[in-house]
Point group: C2
């Protein structure tokens, strides 16, 4: 009983801070994406391709969540984009207070969009509101078709579902139509993109959507 009470308390406290983050991003007119997936689905690769494609049109900032390393942040830094690394030191997700501190180290007056790459985990990150405009999740074709029903909270929370590694479709038994049907059932309003961060196939549609969403936020 105590465990449940405490967890609720943590989530309540997180929601207060998430609201503050949301207010900050409303004022700054920066579009905030919370990017989530299993380990190894390709979040960083998608981020690299997205930045390379839109860097001349949009000013990006990135927050990298990782348990211990700075590997992903180094990949993003190599693209010349401001990036802040959060090491959770064992914690399996980011929370609103962690990202609030990270924002203090980004040039907030000069950015159009900030993408937070969450810790690789299909479970807990879905529970923590970071104050984002959009929760986006990545599934890769090699992970199998059973994931939406095994991890329904993540799929329900996602406003964007990206299927990555479509270049590997010929070598797996992944069924894209089945995934689209499952998403329609679990999260009917979610946008769906199928792409390969390796070959670049399908990246243009996702980038076009992101660009439009950033512009829409600017005009609010």
């Amino acid at each position: 009983m105590k465990k449940v009470e405490l967890v609720t308390g943590i989530l309540d406290a997180n929601d207060v801070l998430a609201k503050q983050n949301r207010e900050l991003f409303r004022n700054k007119k920066i579009f905030l994406v919370n990017l989530m997936s299993s380990p190894g689905s390709g979040k960083t690769a998608i981020l690299e391709r997205t930045i390379a494609s839109l860097q001349e049109e949009l000013a990006f900032g990135v927050v990298e969540g990782d348990i211990y390393t700075t590997k992903d942040a180094e990949r993003i830094q190599a693209q010349g984009v401001p990036v802040v690394q959060i090491n959770t030191e064992g914690a399996c997700h980011l929370d609103a207070s962690m990202v609030a501190k990270a924002f203090e180290n980004l040039p907030m007056d000069n950015l159009d969009v900030i993408i937070i790459e969450n810790v690789g985990n299909l479970v807990c990150p879905a529970e923590f509101d970071l104050g984002q405009d959009c929760k986006a999740m990545v599934l890769s074709t090699t992970e199998g078709n059973d994931k939406p029903w095994k991890y329904p909270l993540m799929f329900r929370e996602a406003k964007v579902v990206i299927l990555n590694k479509i270049d590997l479709l010929p070598y797996t038994d992944f069924d894209v139509t089945q995934l689209e049907n499952d998403i329609t059932e679990i999260s009917p309003n979610a946008k769906f993109f199928a792409l390969s961060a390796k070959t670049n196939e399908g990246m243009a549609e996702w980038c076009a959507w992101l660009k439009a969403a950033v512009k829409e936020k600017k005009q609010q």
Copy 2:
């Protein structure tokens, strides 16, 4: 501060129950495997192949951990093996008390080996001792070479590391030698197996190791 204290308390309580599980398995001379990985690495597929290969020689029991569904348990049940499903209802890992209850529903006097398939998650399951003889983890070739250093606790805890989906090696840039070097550094005593649950390549070595480990436990 309170959060840290409570988490420590949960882990301490878990250790007491894990010790009880370990004692039970010592008495029954059943070998207990705690199988962990990211979502979609292929734990269930490996389990299916392992059971098919050794079913005539060893009496298997299976505990399936899943947040909501019974999909994996149904796959194992189809093989005619006693299986108990644990639905964690949101929790991202199994703990010693959950599996202790599951054992009550298995024919413990007639089993040689029980494999617990943990919730798909590279983070939290590594923290919870279930009383197992062996923590085994699966990484798949499509998840990338950066995982050992990004999720070091999981790799450090694993006494067996299985690389799955080697059939996809030609289509990825995964470096098996690099993985072996990283494992040697992080967990020098871990056994390493490279295999494909899809093509069956490499399954024989893992099955031979498991069979020997089960027999060794019988003789203790």
